[in-house]
Symmetry: C2
Subunit: 456 residues, 2 copies
Amino acid sequence: MQEIKKYVEENKQRFLDELFELLRFPSVSADPKYKTDVFKAADFVAEKLKEAGADQVEVCQTAGYPIVYGEKIIDASLPTILVYGHYDVQPADPLELWHTPPFEPTIREGKIYARGSADDKGQFYMHVKAFELMVKTNTLACNVKFMIEGEEEVGSANLSTFVNVNAERLTADVVLISDTSMISMEDPSIETGLRGLSYLEVEVTGPNRDLHSGIYGGAVANPITVLCQMIASLHDGNNHITIPEFYSKVAELTEEEKTALNSAPFDLEEYKADLDIAEEWGEKGYSTLERTGTRPTLEVNGIWGGYIGEGAKTVLPSKANAKISLRLVPNQSSAEIAEIFQKHMESIAPASVKVKVINHHGGEPVVTPTDSVAYRAAEKAIEESFGKKPIPTRGGGSIPIVALFEDVLGIKSVLMGFGLDSDALHSPNEKYDIFNYYKGIETLPLFHKYFAELSK
Amino acid sequence: MQEIKKYVEENKQRFLDELFELLRFPSVSADPKYKTDVFKAADFVAEKLKEAGADQVEVCQTAGYPIVYGEKIIDASLPTILVYGHYDVQPADPLELWHTPPFEPTIREGKIYARGSADDKGQFYMHVKAFELMVKTNTLACNVKFMIEGEEEVGSANLSTFVNVNAERLTADVVLISDTSMISMEDPSIETGLRGLSYLEVEVTGPNRDLHSGIYGGAVANPITVLCQMIASLHDGNNHITIPEFYSKVAELTEEEKTALNSAPFDLEEYKADLDIAEEWGEKGYSTLERTGTRPTLEVNGIWGGYIGEGAKTVLPSKANAKISLRLVPNQSSAEIAEIFQKHMESIAPASVKVKVINHHGGEPVVTPTDSVAYRAAEKAIEESFGKKPIPTRGGGSIPIVALFEDVLGIKSVLMGFGLDSDALHSPNEKYDIFNYYKGIETLPLFHKYFAELSK
């Protein structure tokens, strides 16, 4: 531990400068206009992996954005850790809400403000630096493989092909991922579950052209009104989702799981104050931690239709659209849910409009074991580094790769995230604490160490 | 009539060229970026009024866009006609749906395609040319006053001040307006009623920042979902508006009025085919003509919230907005309806969000008499020009000036519109038939003639 702290101390500034370089690439995978920046970010990651001491470094082209691979095989008899992360980021808009430019990392009160600082550049780069540390101090305890992709924020469309084709090359004993958060630095935690995702888009078409709302209003179905009625009907009075069969496969928690989950420190008043809301919301009969961690949800991520410019326009529009995503829990299937959602929306649309539902992408829900060698290694590493045993939690986010790895390679994942829920992921002013960044770099080598020991 | 036809024939091309010049000004009053173009349009109108022979021509400045005034007093003992129109136009977006540029008038199949071609540049300019015709052929039968404003599409905010201050100067026996439509050239009609308007904007705020829909989804109220639920609740299963007191002052039609209204030629199948809709929509118990002409309505003119860009963003947004307008009928009051709408929206908002309602602008509903000298003059003029007696109809649109004139000056209006409902007002590819343009120029002098005769 002393040797680790010493190396980090000596390289503190450089570790930060390199991360800033990485954060300056506007590698937004959702928006075609950033295409070249996404590719540049991939090359940067490859270069840094080489410098850190990785072999076989390759920027693997795919049908979309490249996957950066690198490895260090020190001894075939030692266990192998496959590190997964992503160098692409969410769109930065609404830009006007950022206090400093999203792609010009800025430090305020010990926090790095930049799109991707926590999700996931700041977190996967900890692994690159921890790897450098182990190589330079000659303390590598396991073989290491890196797979850093560029399409996580748009559904990892080309990852499964890559994993299937490279199954051999990707052989490992565990997948190590830092793309989640902890309760706090005082209450370290490890996420043991992730929700799946079905992301769809709904288009409602009324008349074949925009109409004058005075001449036609009241006699022709308004697609915005109809879309609102359809969306409103998707939750009942208890905020229970009304889509038939939606809950049919949902795995309910055991009493033990419920108790464990709700024993995690959580202050509802603080939570509401942080978001400036007078009242929380959600499915009746479940706590906030259960709602976000263990229950499927339906969220409208975007809606638009008609005149949205300055001032007033009295138009009865031809179309209205919404982007809707469903978070899934074990044992729901993304494809199946997308299909029943599609069927349902078509079935509730009145004859006065036409409805089109597009399936953007999806990911499967997962629960990771808490009794595995890998989990125990993570537990020991965090306990030594934080001086406190981590609490197992259930995260609401989705990392499709976790399920993909289990299916294709039969490898379980460990989610050693060092972020915080307050990091404003996907929001303006995303941040990552410098403290957490260094803490992660210090903690990860301990995981390698204990994973090797406990694997014996 | 022969003399009229002769003059129009001789000046056909110039009449069209001048209108095209006027249509080339992107005088969009709703969008500040067209400010100078709106002012230029006003100057152009003033110049053309002078050329046509008007005296006292003045571009009257207001707190907003100017009102162009001009007059020709030939004999104080003759009746005076006050012509009203507006040189401002609706925004042209969505631009991508226009087949030819909105501000580059283009003729296709005898129709002039351009924003403002029918609403209202093409229509008020008929009066300028009919006036020129009467002056040049020395056939003026009445005194004429022109008042052409530049803020009709944004609620005529500064008109009432102007009218109050200039009551003296605006004295007249009738207000003549061409800003409405006919059933068809085969079935000429005169609108005898206009709906009022209350235009509002609703903003729903949930959390104080955009959130990650995975981490917070299911536990925090989504402002889009809430706004949709609020909008959905505004109509019941019979498409009746649910706002308390909304219908309390609505004047129901007499059986005679109903019969007269529904006797107007109307083909529902044609109507549906033209709009490409499988089914009409509306308040149960009323015909399409009653719904648009005589019933109050509530339309969502625009909605936006969350991520509306390319691809997917899993965000739970902080805000959602909607522009909503209500069309009013006698004896509803715009201010009163705006207030009960505001109160209602605030009352149905759940505690998990904050709601703000802004009142953009409004106008009062009116019904014009069908037994007045002015109406009979219009009836005779159209009968002579079209060879068919016009049918009285109720229009769904709103022209606040009509009510304003009655209140402030005690003058009734006559709505001699020459447009068609299919002119795509407020929509992409707005058009005005060249035939209607010339027909209007030929018919208006006849109104002057008969108004003078019947006033004796």
